[in-house]
Symmetry: C2
Subunit: 508 residues, 2 copies
């Protein structure tokens, strides 16, 4: 009885354009919800930090076995040439008579975790169920509650729950649903699940290079990132690029008593603060010389699309507790520009770890997002030039005694790898058909977004595979991805199943 | 044989003014070096963070028993009225016929520790012996090496080794030496060892209030801090005051993906950097309004004394690896001014803990040193006024949702307790006799320093006990006090024994 109550109560409004196939997929899901969630829980229990190779391989094995169990063929691990790096997991379904191929991408690795920061009762790799978002007074509920009917507003908390094991899981199960329902896909389907995305996709290029033929397809569909903050599903035509710099400003060679030396020995935390403050003004504009110079202007279609994106600024301000945004424009117009964000700062200790010292160094981790026209190495160099302009001698490594005696101010800069932005034209015919399939799944037109604020290495998809991918995020926007307490709303998993199944049935 | 070699080789140059009593104390020490170091090792093994009451009480017990074993009388713990706070340890020696009383002060608690920051092989509470400073290529040597002769350049690494268990230990043993040698002190001696100095001496005032009569004396001698960087012994006539502020700047209520929100949601690490940068200019001048306004000018005697302090700036620059000091003046002239120092900064993670987030908050711990004329609450307020001037709404606690919607920028300020600076006149007759006693111990005139850069709560000694203390630091200046790898040079312990014994034999 209880089960029926939930199912009826929470069935979303069904738009006219939804196809009978989507209804069938929904029926299949409703009948299998507890089984699906148990599978997902199994998957989430395997730690998935890209640098943790033994566990990454366990994830890859789990995915391989899961795909095989769902009848997906030619399952294999695609390892980069560089040894001991996360493999991608590949599989395929060839549809008799199909002339087109859609490749589905998601990644199974997650962001680094600091489990001490997760709220009490949660652990990144011990998935927990809650009756709603914990920041909205949700409570942890017993996993066994799934057998008495599942509310789509429930959430699962775990690293990777939304970013991006949900993608891997829903893509595989969208196919599993079609197969169980004996619904024949209209296209060949390829599955490509990366294991190193959160570590910068450093070896993806090697994999593409080696398996170029295997990975050829007419269309790539990327499942990553959150749905629009309005709750609306979105089809995204591009992503920002991304790269990082880690800056270390040096003070005295040993920590000094702040009393005996304070006022005379320079404080690296103060010097770093001054340096960072010089990079961005109060209006949110990056003041690094030439930072915006090579930005490619938006097309007319893109400008129109941005105008149609529902305004969520007031909702977000309230939800996030932020009265004044950094820039005066809309959220989406801000995301069309490159950004400079401080991911973290650390110098000596604060709170109970604070001591009366002049620290030996101060470190800041900086994230640079890029848009079309930017080159990641050039963008890094602009920031490095700025650091020099601010009077620092820039080093690749820790300073020697000679360096210390030669230069007034020292900053070590560690450059990460990176990748450029990518955009698929909003007029691309395949992209338009994907939009149609999403429309068929959700019963209305999705939001069309010229670029996601976040990053995916789609630049190299285009460069190496000549792919023009579109991105279909399914996670709730308040999923805490990249931070502690990552979570996915269960209803978003269900929606993902229907959307990906609809794309596999791709209309002409 | 080996022992004799060391002893002869490392005996310092003996100035003409040294008394026969000092020689006897030295002989006594030479005969007892291994025993003394083993006692000291026992003492250092007891963790001594003021907030760790069970261990603090173990330290107090150890000191009490040690004093009793050395024949010191009336040993007792002086606890503040506030329960569960570190007690001071008191003891006394009444000298028949003496009309004057000298009170010796040191503290047995130490700065907080982060044992992960100590170099490999060291642990804050597992004292280790090295053959010289580890930053000068010293190596850890077996403790048993002490039985084959002890080089005064050897060091002991442990929290409190120099700051300030060495003070407690040398004061007690200076008396023990006199007693063993049957040398009668010329004064009554009182011993007062505090257990909460590194936590701000928050309850010292309560102890002084309750035990005012017991603690009366003609002269207070404070043993804390390092000797002059030139290696010369110094008598210090004052200390800077000290207080702290902890600033927390708030960003979004939950950590946000830096891609999906970067450029639109303000970054608290950037806002904190901007705030801190606004507090001090490139020339090391604090730009907080009125920061230097109430500084009392130096006396003529103080200005002359500072002129006589040996210049150590070039030596320090090289040793500390700093080419350009923060201020153009000498180290000692810089210490005559109030200071603003960042003790630590923290926002999200760096290095391997770095993730692509806009952090929820950024925290800075700030240390304010004060000179004569400054009032610690007034000095705190100047900084808080500055924060408001920079556009922040200042809060005592975490912001509510209402606060977040009402103010553009939010900064929580936690004010610590504090105390003002203190100075004893360089013409004080008792102080002059102490200088004479030090002269007798070291065979030359010590450096006379109007103020130590560091802080001790001597202000309340003056206010509550009408005391005019002088400070006699014994630790090597490169002792890493207040940081990881704290250490004491063994020769500095030996020097301390002689100096304190000489003061106990105070000449008229």
């Amino acid at each position: 009885m209880k089960k029926h109550f939930f199912v009826l109560f929470f069935l979303p409004f069904l738009g006219f354009a939804q196809t009978s196939e989507v209804y069938k997929v929904r029926d299949y899901r409703v009948k299998n919800e507890p089984v699906l969630l148990n599978h997902f829980k199994d998957f989430l229990q395997i730690p998935n930090i890209a640098s943790d190779l033994p566990n990454i391989l366990k994830n890859a094995d789990w995915i391989s076995n899961y795909m095989l169990s769902m009848g997906i063929g030619n399952v294999q691990l695609l390892s980069p040439v560089t040894p001991n790096k996360p493999p991608a997991v590949y599989g395929e379904v060839l549809t008799p008579g199909a002339t087109e191929t859609v490749v589905f991408y998601a990644h199974y690795d997650g962001q680094p975790v600091d489990s001490t920061k997760w709220v009490s009762g949660l652990h990144p790799f011990k998935p927990q169920l809650t009756n709603k978002s914990l920041v909205k007074d949700g409570k942890i509920i017993s996993w066994d509650t799934i057998y008495s009917g599942i509310d789509p507003d429930w959430r699962i908390y775990a690293r990777g729950a939304s970013d991006d094991k949900a993608g891997v899981f829903t893509i595989i199960n969208a196919y599993a649903a079609l197969k169980a329902l004996k619904l024949k896909p209209n296209v060949n389907i390829k599955f490509f699940f990366e294991g190193e995305e959160e570590a910068g996709s450093t070896h993806l290029s090697e994999i593409f290079n080696q398996y170029r033929t295997l990975l050829m397809g007419d269309m790539w569909v990327i499942c990553d990132g959150p749905v629009h903050q309005s709750g609306g599903k979105q089809v995204v035509f591009g992503v920002r690029g991304d790269t990082h710099l880690e800056l270390t400003v040096f003070g005295p060679k040993r920590p000094l008593h702040s009393g005996h030396y304070g006022n005379w020995i320079p404080n690296p935390a103060m010097e770093l603060s001054r340096l960072l403050a010089s990079m961005k003004n109060e209006n949110g504009q990056v003041t690094v010389k030439g930072f915006y110079d090579d930005v490619k202007p938006l097309s007319g279609a893109e400008i129109s699309a941005i105008d149609l994106v529902p305004g969520v600024e007031e909702q977000l301000k309230k939800e996030l507790g932020v009265r004044k945004p950094e820039s005066a424009g809309s959220l989406n117009s801000s995301l069309q520009l490159p950004s400079l964000n401080i991911n973290g700062i650390q110098s000596a200790g604060v709170g109970k770890q604070s001591a009366n010292v002049i620290p030996t160094k101060a470190v800041a981790s900086i994230d640079l997002r890029l848009v079309l026209g930017n080159d990641w190495k050039r963008q890094q160099q602009k920031v490095i030039d700025h650091i020099e302009l601010m009077g620092f001698h820039v080093l690749d490594d820790e300073p020697t005694d000679q360096d210390r005696m030669k230069y007034d101010k020292l900053c070590m800069v560690k450059r990460s790898d990176g990748y450029n932005a990518q955009k698929t034209s909003m007029d691309d015919p395949f992209a338009k058909r994907i939009v149609k399939a999403v429309n068929a799944a959700i019963g209305k037109s999705p939001i069309l977004m010229p670029t996601l604020g976040g990053s995916l290495p789609l630049f190299i998809f285009e460069q190496q595979l000549n792919a023009h991918p579109v991105t279909l995020p399914i996670a709730n926007h308040d999923n805490n991805q990249h931070a502690e307490n990552e979570n996915i709303r269960i209803g978003n998993i269900w929606d993902g199943l229907e959307i990906f199944a609809s794309i596999m049935l791709l209309p002409k």
